[in-house]
């Protein structure tokens, strides 16, 4: 076992730490899937994983490669249809924590996963909204996991796929609290309590405020008393490696 780790590991570990035992967590593909399963294998074994494919209380034995893996259905307490998932579970506000990713994010936590450029004639066609708009609107807390770079952290998103706090930070009128945390490979951003502007509040080990500023496409607001994130523990790194290797949980 090695103690060496990369900034992406830190991002996933930091995201996992935000899940608490008993939390109902809506898990999407990619880093959210890794973070949620990491939480379940470390400090939050009783957090409840819900996948938009319909699996409720899934207990995947290996890291699922898609949100529709048979292992999710086979280990879930219940499997419901996709309309029921979105209407009775996501839309109804039964999700405590939603993890989301983004290709672009602005200072008010609005997310773009749709296009770079014009919608009708895009320069880059991205996958699209998927389940994110309703998760963004209805989950109790939204945690965005995204690597920080000026291409991603932009002054204005090309397309609003999912609403954070709206164009000026004051337009949110949805059930959930919105993006309460943005976890990057540099640190953690949180909305300012007054303006909802994303503010750097925590730094990952070895990262400087200046680096975070350089990785941000707007003039990054930094908290007065910035906190240091604890580095990944050996247990976290081991669990993360096992997940990535798709080792079964009881191996």
């Amino acid at each position: 076992m090695s103690d060496s780790w990369e900034s992406a590991d830190m991002m996933n570990v930091a995201a996992a730490r935000e899940l608490h035992d008993g939390d109902v967590c809506l898990v999407g593909v990619g880093p959210p899937n890794l973070a949620a399963n990491l939480a379940r294998r470390t400090h939050a074994p009783a957090c409840r994983l819900v996948y938009e494919s319909g699996a409720i209380d899934a207990r995947p034995r290996r890291l699922p490669l898609s949100i529709g893996d048979d292992d999710l259905a086979a280990t879930a307490t219940a499997v419901v249809s996709v309309p029921e998932m979105f209407n009775y579970w996501v839309g109804a506000g039964r999700i405590d924590v939603g993890f989301l990713g983004a290709a672009q994010i602005d200072r008010f936590g609005n997310l773009n996963t749709t296009v770079i450029g014009d919608h009708d004639n895009p320069r880059t066609r991205l996958p699209g909204a998927g389940g994110a708009p309703e998760i963004a609107a209805s989950a109790g807390r939204v945690i965005v996991i995204v690597k920080q770079s000026p291409r991603t952290f932009v002054e204005q998103v090309d397309f609003v796929s999912s609403v954070g706090y709206g164009p000026t930070g004051r337009e949110r009128r949805a059930r959930g609290a919105g993006p309460t945390l943005v976890i990057t490979d540099h640190g953690v951003l949180e909305p300012d309590p007054d303006t909802n502007e994303l503010t750097l509040t925590r730094l990952h080990p070895g990262v400087t405020v200046e680096q975070a500023r350089q990785a941000t496409g707007w003039a990054l607001k930094v908290a007065d008393s910035i906190k240091q994130v604890d580095p990944p523990t050996a247990a976290e790194l081991t669990a993360l490696r096992r997940l990535r290797n798709r080792e079964p949980v009881d191996a």
Binding site: S53, G54, D70, A73, F86, G91, T124, G128, S138
Partner: protein
Amino acid sequence: MPRPVPLGEAIAAHVHDGDTVALEGFTHLIPFAAAHEIARQGRRHLTLVRMTPDLVYDQLIGLGVADELVFSYGGNPGVGSLHRFRDAVERHWPHRLVVHEHSHAGLANAYVAGAARLPFAVLRGYRGTDLEEQRDIVGRVTCPFTGEELAAVKAVNPDVAVIHAQLADRDGNVMLWGITGVQREAVLAAQQAIVTVEEVVDEFPERTGAVVLPNWVLSAVCVVPGGAWPSYAAGYSVRDNDFYQQWDAVSRDREAFLAWARENGLPTTEEVGAHV
């Protein structure tokens, strides 16, 4: 014709050029074999509807089958982009693809409305997103009791729905289980429904979470074991994750894609002719 018929016959009888066709299956039970038969028969100008276009529509789009796409998430799950989809949207190859774009909740509810033969469905969501600018499919309604404004989506009623299921019985009733996605709604929203199944049995087993569709809402049932490959049919096969990985390289390059099409006997646009 609910009794098993050959897949080729079912597609020939029910899928026509210009139709709106929904092939559904959320990661699980994706009707790839039926999709390939649609391509093999040279169908053109389809409006394809599907929550997650996945490889199945990446292939059909690359082959030039579709003029329009109604969808909510167009990625290769866990791998990356759908390159044929991107090429069609970004560079109009083999021709321009018009997209109508929902969130998952929106498209799921558009099927729900379609299955109920209602013109629209109401949901939370969309509010404040740029998806709302597609006013022909996303609108607003006001609650007559509370005055709250909510999102509305226009119903989807495909000409044909195609799904893959585990089982049919001797009467042509169909059963599927595991992740059942939006298949019930897609079948009931459509005018015609074609189902490919792994096998025919005398009696259905007990399966918690199963969807059972009576034969009288189905137009054709076809026995196509492995018809969901490279996706999977719970209890019959596992997802071919390697193929999903490999598709990234195949689809990234037009020539590699065309070679794949030739190898699989799937005619491309030049072979079919752009206008039929």
